[in-house]
Each structure stands twice: as structure tokens, then as C-alpha cells.
Symmetry: C2
DNA sequence: GGCTCCCACGAAACAAAATTGCAAGCCGAC
DNA sequence: GTCGGCTTGCAATTTTGTTTCGTGGGAGCC
């Protein structure tokens, strides 16, 4: 269901390039080349390959939520009643479709789903719970955590 | 302590531009201009302003964790013993410094911190808990959730 | 060893995109 | 009305990304 693309093994150059790109993907290829001791075209070819292979999933700007009026970040642990394959699939689809849901993970443990939600106000969150949880009769219960501080927020993965 | 930059109010153009950029920041300005009915330089100036004002926090490549051998995503709820200001500050600093910790939020509710962690293997996670939690005598307890599926992962905020 | 084939590389040429300079249009203040 | 600040579009310039081409090193095979 997801993009399953062949990943040819990454060498040291690739990793160094990734380390730079996941911090700032606007870095000129020439600069990257200098940093990793490679020519700009070589860097360009590697980046292109990694994009095609799905090693680089996307290239995005990170927007400050509070700057656009989405000032509240909320965590939710969701526990479902029935964990049949298609019930789970349905839930995944529904969660993935909601724009307020930034992240959704299907997890083991005391909860089934963990959601990261971004909304303008508590009232909006309340409305969302009504729609998403109370309106879904497969949701057994959910626990809410409100973020007071987004201490560290990123998608960077440790490299080397 | 963090970036406190003045956010001048965003108009419809800005929001449309942001909506595009947070999906794909490699979109040519010309294309963006066409989409929002503005010239490329106008788009460029707005983007520059939003970068300077901190509305756009960063521009990054999103790397597929499994492609670089970081195949396990883990959630942790951390509860601390003492919640004095400097104990909390110390914890924030420590969590923010760990490269395996992708995200760290300070939250209300039954937990104090919620962490999103990315590691190559369970053994690595075990080692990390030893260092981070058992090695920190202010950690009362922590609950672990292992992600079976990263259903939706992004930092995009709802716009429009 | 000597051979070819195959990649990945760097240098340079090239294309495309971003950036800058500038003149004009659009308010709001006086 | 007119001044001044702000934003725009267009055109020129500069920077950046991309393609082309020729070279060199390594793997496999005579």
C-alpha cells in the first residue's frame, strides 16, 4: 500500500548528503559538493537517485503552526474496540484524511493509535473529537495530552 | 529562549504559497506564481519575508528512516518526579540533544513528556532507555509504544 | 598480464531558476 | 490633491541546477 521502492545501499557520501539535506534542502549542490568532497554533478546525480528510490520522501517547508493560527498541538492515544483488519484499515484511512492530524501511528501497547493534532483552539479540538471519536463507534476510549511546549519537532533521522 | 520573531499578518496569497511549499518546497516560483496569480518575483519576496519572520521555520528533505537503517519508531510517555522549573529545563535540554529523539513535547495530563524516537533496533532502544531514563533519577516512569505502521507522518499544518 | 565493459567521476557548456533594479500602480495620511 | 510608503510586474543579471562529454578506475574474462 505504501511506496515500496528498491533502496540500493547508501555509501558514506549519500549519508553525508542526506545529513545536510534533512537539515536544509536549499543548500546549493556546489556547497554540498565542497562539504563532502564531490563535484556538483556527482552530488546532483546522487540526490536524484535517492529521490527516485524513495530514500528522500519529500522536500518541504516547515511552517510554524502558531504563525498561521494553529497554536495548539495535541496528542491523542486512541483505543479501538474491534481490531479486525478492515476496521483498522478504515481507521487509518479516516485519520490520514483529516488535515488537522499531522501524524498518525498504529502502535502496540495500551493504545492502538497515537495521533498528533494541530488546531487553532480547544473548541476546534472539541469539535474534532466529536467528529472523529464520538462519531466513530469503534473507538473505545481516547486520552488527550495537550502540548505546552514543542521542545523539539522534526523528522530528521540519525545518520551514522 | 526560542525564536520569537514578529509575524506580520498573512494574507490569502501568503497562505496559498505556504500550502504549496509545505507540500513541496522545490516548486518553481514561477509555478507558484501561476497558481496564486502573482509574478515570480512577488512570490519570491513573500517567501523571503516569511523565512525572515520565522513563519517558515526550515526547508528540509524528509528522509525515509527505513532506508537508512532506522527502522523502528517508538513513542514514549515520560513521567518525572520533580517538576521544578530547572528540572524540567534540564530534561528538555537533554531530550533535545539526543539525535535519536525526533520529537519532544512537554505536555499536560498523565505524562509530562512525550517523545518520538527513531532507532535501528530494539537493542538500540533498550540502550537508549538505559541512558536516558534509568540513568536519570528524576524519571519516575515511562511507557513505551512501538509503531507498527507510520500511517501519516508530516509537519504540515492545515491552511486555507 | 592484458583486455573489455561498466560505472562513477569531474570539467565545461548549457538551461532554468532565483534575485535584483527599476518604474509604475495603489492606498492611506496629511 | 499630493506626498510617501508599500507592493507589484517586467527586464536584466546572477546564481543554481542539469546535461553532455571525455576520462579513469575496478570487475570479470580471456
Amino acid at each position: 500500500m505504501n511506496k515500496r521502492v528498491q533502496h540500493s545501499p547508501l555509501d558514506v557520501f549519500d549519508r553525508k548528503i542526506l545529513a545536510i539535506l534533512q537539515r536544509d534542502n536549499m543548500t546549493p549542490q556546489r556547497t554540498i559538493g565542497d562539504a563532502v568532497n564531490l563535484s556538483a554533478p556527482a552530488v546532483q546525480r546522487r540526490i536524484k537517485r535517492m529521490r527516485e528510490e524513495g530514500v528522500i520522501r519529500a522536500d518541504v517547508s516547515v511552517v510554524a503552526p502558531e504563525a498561521v493560527g494553529q497554536s495548539i498541538t495535541i496528542f491523542v492515544e486512541v483505543e479501538v474496540i474491534s481490531e479486525t483488519a478492515d476496521q483498522i484499515e478504515r481507521a487509518k484511512t479516516e485519520f490520514a484524511a483529516a488535515p488537522e492530524i499531522q501524524q498518525c501511528y498504529y502502535v502496540t501497547g495500551e493504545a492502538d493509535f497515537i495521533l498528533v493534532i494541530v488546531v487553532p483552539s480547544m473548541a476546534d479540538y472539541e469539535a474534532l473529537t466529536r467528529r472523529l471519536f464520538f462519531g466513530n463507534n469503534n473507538v473505545k476510549r481516547f486520552r488527550t495530552f495537550v502540548a505546552m511546549d514543542r521542545v523539539k519537532v522534526g523528522l530528521g533521522v540519525p545518520l551514522e
